[in-house]
């Protein structure tokens, strides 16, 4: 599968996750967010950017506790919980935010 954006074609898997990590840019993220019906605010970008940083270091998305702690530090302790992350990404921070961040879908017993 694939989608067109600004005259370029981007390959995705069956569920719309980018196939090639290096294809990601902010426009692509914006497109993927619109597809997910997520309105990107500064807070959303904080999460997406952290996911990408963490992935670059560890080759996996961060565990939920790692993510909530990092977001709590950046956006304030009242935001450092999964309830807040679900408000930002209603389908679930792991799966939906990873998609917008251009990362592979985390799968397992989750």
């Amino acid at each position: 599968m694939s989608f067109e954006l600004n005259g370029r074609t981007y390959d995705t898997d069956e569920e719309g996750y980018l196939t090639n990590l290096a294809d990601w840019n902010e426009d692509v993220a914006g497109y993927l967010a619109r597809e997910e019906k997520v309105d990107m605010t500064e807070s959303h970008w904080e999460v997406v950017n952290f996911l990408r940083e963490y992935y670059n270091e560890f080759q996996i998305a961060p565990a939920i506790r790692v993510l909530t702690k990092a977001i709590g530090k950046k956006l304030g302790p009242d935001k450092g919980n999964s309830k807040y992350l679900y408000e930002l990404f209603p389908y679930g921070p792991a799966k939906q935010a990873c998609k917008i961040a251009g990362l592979p879908k985390p799968t397992g017993c989750i």
């Binding site: 069956e14 569920e15 560890f58 080759q59 996996i60 961060p62 565990a63 939920i64 506790r65 790692v66 702690k69 999964s82 679930g92 792991a94 799966k95 985390p106 799968t107 397992g108 017993c109 989750i110």
Partner: protein, 498 residues
């Protein structure tokens, strides 16, 4: 004349048996695994040209290896006892999800090729050739069975229907028709060591973070050791315990139990997964390869005991298969069961008074317990029959004041699957998962209405993930589900025993 004494039956909820909706779930098909995923497991990359002959040959091979499979395929008399026992049939109303009908997709092919009557008079005995259309039905409907074996409890012949589903999945994989979710995960375990694909450094970073969290919450330095040589216990747990909520709460609970009991323990980056999807796809080689990782880790770390965390099918594999797949375990301390379930460990400690528990700490919770299918119907705990039912409940009652069981026909050996087991916990099967959760949700609703239950404890990573996702569809809060050791974690008092 005195009236005869008997009890008038109580009204039941209607509808009792769902109205049939033929083909209701015909469009429910998980993504097919792409060639690289299949080939990494040694399966053909795509449907092979001579798939029909290959499938029949594979069925013949399985029949030769497993006498049980032939018995199950022969024994069914179509009595119908299983028809309304399957959560997927109840939730979807698709007649092909009646366990007997789903099995017949394979049984009819068996009859055609492996019975005299089927070879000579196929139409008379319900024997069929394996056409492309039938193969499509295999893929569609064997991916609508979670191998939970509830129907088997009601089968007068004791047919293990899950074994038929597993055989069908094994045959399909052998001809290049694999399911993406399960097979991609199998690849990750072989490559990285766990279902999620958490590499060692990420695991280490995650565990360090959890140690900080526990210290911040309790003021006590509780460790979550990784690859600690010479530890007494190796804990293998589903990788979801590292990654997700509510799973991680139970992991913290295990750590607190070991800490408080003074048991030295470790996790392993090599065997960082208790789950074993090899079972879901009916493939013993995959199952063995994954099980051997645990053996290698245990030997390398020099542990004396192996404890399995809260994971349903992992416990089935560990309890029922490890000995033949990865045994003998004679290098472990024979005074303890090998393997041992974390609930057995905690239960023993509670019995011995080794833990200080503040039940009131759980007073905000009114709790019920969901028996996970593989623990309930394919394993045991403790030294007495039914220990897998009593031990988790006794733990809950030791750490909390408010507990209510759900309807007796929906718990214990008759428990309903969460709707996401057997390798079906994937987003591309969401409709199936939501519909399959119906009977459990109905039983939960009953105790919510009657007893104001607000927490459903369970000991399986799949159940936890599945319920977190489907509870909101039924008007419940996703945080209503959690682990038994999440409750232990809340109640356990750390530090010196008073």
């Amino acid at each position: 004349m005195a009236a005869p004494t008997f009890e008038t039956p109580k009204f039941r909820d209607i509808p009792i048996v769902p109205v049939l909706m033929p083909q209701a779930m015909a469009a429910s098909r998980p993504f097919v695994a792409a060639a690289p995923i299949q080939q990494a497991l040694g399966f053909p990359g795509e449907l092979v040209p001579d798939w029909e002959q290959k499938a029949i040959a594979k069925l013949g091979e399985l029949l030769g290896k497993y006498r049980s499979l032939r018995v199950y395929l022969d024994a069914c008399v179509h009595c119908g006892a299983c028809t309304d026992k399957c959560h997927y049939f109840i939730g979807t109303q698709d007649p092909k999800n009646m366990p007997v009908a789903r099995q017949d997709l394979l049984r009819s092919v068996y009859r055609r090729h492996f019975t005299v009557a089927g070879k000579l008079f196929p139409k008379l005995v319900g024997a069929r050739d394996l056409t492309k259309e039938l193969l499509d039905d295999w893929y569609t409907y064997f991916n609508q069975c979670s191998e939970c074996r509830r129907c088997s409890v009601f089968c007068p012949y004791g047919i293990d229907t899950a074994e038929i589903t597993m055989a069908a999945k094994e045959i399909m994989n052998s001809i290049g028709l694999g399911q993406k979710y399960t097979n991609e995960i199998l690849g990750k375990v072989h490559r990285i060591g766990n279902n999620l694909g958490l590499p060692g450094p990420a695991l280490e970073d995650t565990l360090l973070g959890l140690e900080e969290d526990i210290a911040a919450d309790t003021g006590v330095e509780v460790k979550l050791p990784l690859d600690a040589k010479g530890a007494e216990v190796l804990l293998v747990t589903p990788s979801a315990d590292f990654f997700s909520e509510p799973h991680v709460e139970s992991l913290i609970g295990y750590a607190k139990v070991f800490h408080q009991a003074g048991i030295s323990w470790t996790l392993s980056s090599h065997a960082s997964e208790a789950g074993n999807f090899g079972m879901f796809v009916g493939n013993y080689e995959q199952m063995k390869k994954i099980s051997l990782r645990v053996r290698q880790a245990a030997l390398e770390l020099g542990v004396k005991r192996i404890v399995v965390g809260e994971c349903g099918h992992a416990w089935r594999v560990a309890y029922s298969f490890w000995n033949t797949l990865a045994g003998p375990w004679d290098f472990l301390d024979s005074r303890y069961p090998a393997p041992q379930h974390i609930c057995e460990v905690t239960h023993d400690l509670i019995q011995r008074g080794a833990l200080t528990l503040d039940k009131e700490a759980n007073d905000h919770r009114i709790i019920t317990f969901h028996d996970s299918c593989n623990v309930a119907r394919a394993s045991r705990m403790g030294g007495t029959p039914g220990g897998q039912f009593t031990i988790p409940r006794e733990i809950i009652k030791s750490v909390a004041n408010h507990f209510h069981d759900m309807h007796p026909d929906t718990i214990g050996e008759k428990t309903f699957c969460c709707g996401g087991g057997g390798g079906l916990l994937t987003d591309d099967l969401m409709e199936l998962r939501v519909k399959g959760a119906l009977p459990r949700m109905e039983a939960l609703k009953q105790v919510v209405d009657e007893h104001k239950v607000n927490f459903m404890a369970t000991i399986c990573a799949i159940c936890k993930a599945q319920f977190s996702k489907v509870l909101p569809y039924y008007g419940f809060d996703m945080s209503m589900v959690g682990g038994v050791h999440q409750l232990v974690s809340t109640a356990i008092r750390l530090g010196a025993k008073e």
